[in-house]
Amino acid sequence: MSTTTQELAVKMIDVDNPLAATVKREPAYRPARRGRKSPLRVIFMYVFLTALVLVLLIPFGWMLSSSLKRNTEVFAVPIQWIPTSFQWNNYVDIWTTIPLLTYLKNSATLTLSITFLQLLTGSFAAYGFSKVKFKGRDVLFVSYIATIAIPWQAYMIPQYIMMQKLHLTNTLMALILLQAFSAFGVFLMRQFYLSIPDELVEAARIDGLNEYRIWARIMLPLSKPALASLALLTFVATWNDYMGPFIYLTSNDLWTVQIGLQSFVGQYANDAALLMTGSVISIIPIFIIFLLGQRYFIAGIATSGLKG
């Protein structure tokens, strides 16, 4: 259901080197590298790019700065870019103003269990789809692919009815069941497994390993980069998911960070600074994951159909 996973899908591009994983590597055209690269031009380019990026990222700066302001100072005239006195206690008060710890715990529960199940069942199924040949396999795989293109909104009503019949609405379980078996995860892992030569698997079979052992001992260790990509993408998509929890979780003690934050907007309209504090905290896990795993946001471009 998490539509964002699919959007992130294509995404798995190494930010520093978008081509890292594509097969064919042709010399890239780089205008700046033409012999007459005067130092002045280079300096100008750096200044220009730095200014551009800073301007484009002002919203983050303003959020961070406002999270340390007094509530009254957020909309002060003229604009206070830097707080007059840093209100570090905003970062203490927020935990008691709203049940932020509960929200974080719910978000973490969902994110971790969905990511874990997704990796486990996804890589397991991908082995079946790529290395075991049997009748009907390809038809089955087409049914996975077909649903990737359908917007989740188009089938959320039947899903909701089903969850209601199962008495699972307003439980975290509903979201885990809906998001842990996404077609995207299987697709991604299968594409990776296809790139592992069949000979390797055959050799293991001749050595007497059964299929489950081959998956556990050979495929899993080899597919660490793909697993890492899938884990990061699923983590980000689930952590940021809004629509799923919004529809399914009605009681406050089950809310995720996203829902908690949004309800905070309505309840405490005058706590603009604290609202920013909460927003900053909600982003921190994603920021850490992004810094740690940057290189794993690698190139699914070749697999996702972006060919020249």
């Binding site: 294509v10 199924a125 009748k135 909600s282």
Partner: protein, 321 residues
């Protein structure tokens, strides 16, 4: 597609050329048995995921097509009503307004994001030390949750004393727009916010596309005396065509199903100024429990997305010829 167990390729087990009929019959039997065994193993790998996938994705997708032709609400059992839901749609002003708003959002969000992402990609496609930091920084908004983005932009766009209106005031605009508080400006505000969030992601896609263009093309063009604009027009743009169509399709799908951003920023308001299709599906189907009618609307959304995707696909195929 024939289910031959892999071991059969091993030289030791290769079938001898002359066999008695009796022997080959046994061989065929055991081959079939082996095929069944392989199928069982294959299924055992796929089943844990497929069970969840079939139950919670595949069945709902198929069910939607049936529910759309029933009258079904939270309290009464479903009754087949033919195309009633669809005729009701045609006369529902909420539906038309939400279709119009969704289209408004899409036709603002798609070209703006495309243009800005391409511009940024061209700008950042150079061999400078540390260029990766700039790319990374611009990509990060895309990973930030829509809720946080929507909250921050709502404050930035606050009509009274919000930073953006203060800046507009200071450059001499006496009556800046009231952004999400005005029916006229609410949708542009949402579009600006979404463009800001998405630009870095599509920029990365364009960067990848740019790097597949062979350098020789540009060198040859320079020898022929082509200026920067001519090189862009005659080399970069045509070479980027596959990337552009790909980006277009992704943008189309994501635009037509927009929900989070609008729900958090405006809740569809003021009035119905930013009410979009997926919000209406949510309201009618889940809040009010009008399952049949909401499913009909879901099908409409699906058909819209599908037809745009097909049109773009056809166009891209023609372009490639």
């Amino acid at each position: 597609m024939t289910a031959s167990p892999p071991t059969i390729r091993h030289p030791k087990i290769t079938a001898p050329q002359f066999t008695t009929p009796q022997l080959s019959k046994e061989r065929a039997l055991s081959a079939r048995r082996r095929a069944r065994r392989t199928a069982l193993i294959g299924w055992s790998f796929i089943l844990p995921n497929f069970a969840g996938f079939a139950l919670f994705t595949l069945i709902p997708v198929v069910a939607c097509f049936f529910i759309a032709f029933t009258q079904w609400d939270a309290y009464n059992p479903p009754v087949l009503v033919g195309v009633n839901n669809f005729t009701r749609l045609l006369g529902d002003s909420n539906f038309w307004i939400s279709v119009r708003n969704t289209a408004y959002y899409a036709f603002g969000h798609i070209p703006l994001t495309l243009a800005i992402a391409l511009g940024l990609a061209l700008l950042l496609n150079r061999a400078l030390r540390g260029i990766g930091i700039f790319r990374t920084a611009l990509f990060f908004p895309y990973l930030t949750s829509l809720v946080a983005v929507a909250i921050v932009f709502n404050l930035l766009f606050a009509p009274d004393n919000g930073p953006i209106n203060q800046i507009l005031n200071s450059v001499g605009i006496a009556n800046p727009p009231r952004w999400t508080a005005s029916t006229e400006w609410a949708m542009p505000t949402v579009i600006i916010t979404s463009v800001w969030r998405d630009m870095g992601y599509y920029m990365i896609l364009f960067l990848a596309g740019l790097q597949t263009i062979p350098r020789e093309y540009y060198e040859a063009a320079e020898v022929d005396g082509a200026n920067a604009w001519q090189r862009f027009r005659n080399i970069t743009l045509p070479s980027l065509r596959p990337t552009t169509y790909f980006v277009l399709i992704l943008l189309t799908i994501s635009s037509f199903k927009v929900f989070d951003l609008i729900q958090v920023m405006t809740e569809g308001g003021p009035g119905r100024a930013t009410l979009v299709l997926s919000q209406l599906i949510y309201r009618d189907g889940i809040v009010q429990g009008d399952y049949g009618y909401a499913s009909a609307m879901s099908l409409a959304l699906f058909v819209i997305v599908l037809s745009f995707t097909i049109v773009q696909f056809k166009l891209s195929e023609r372009g490639n010829k």
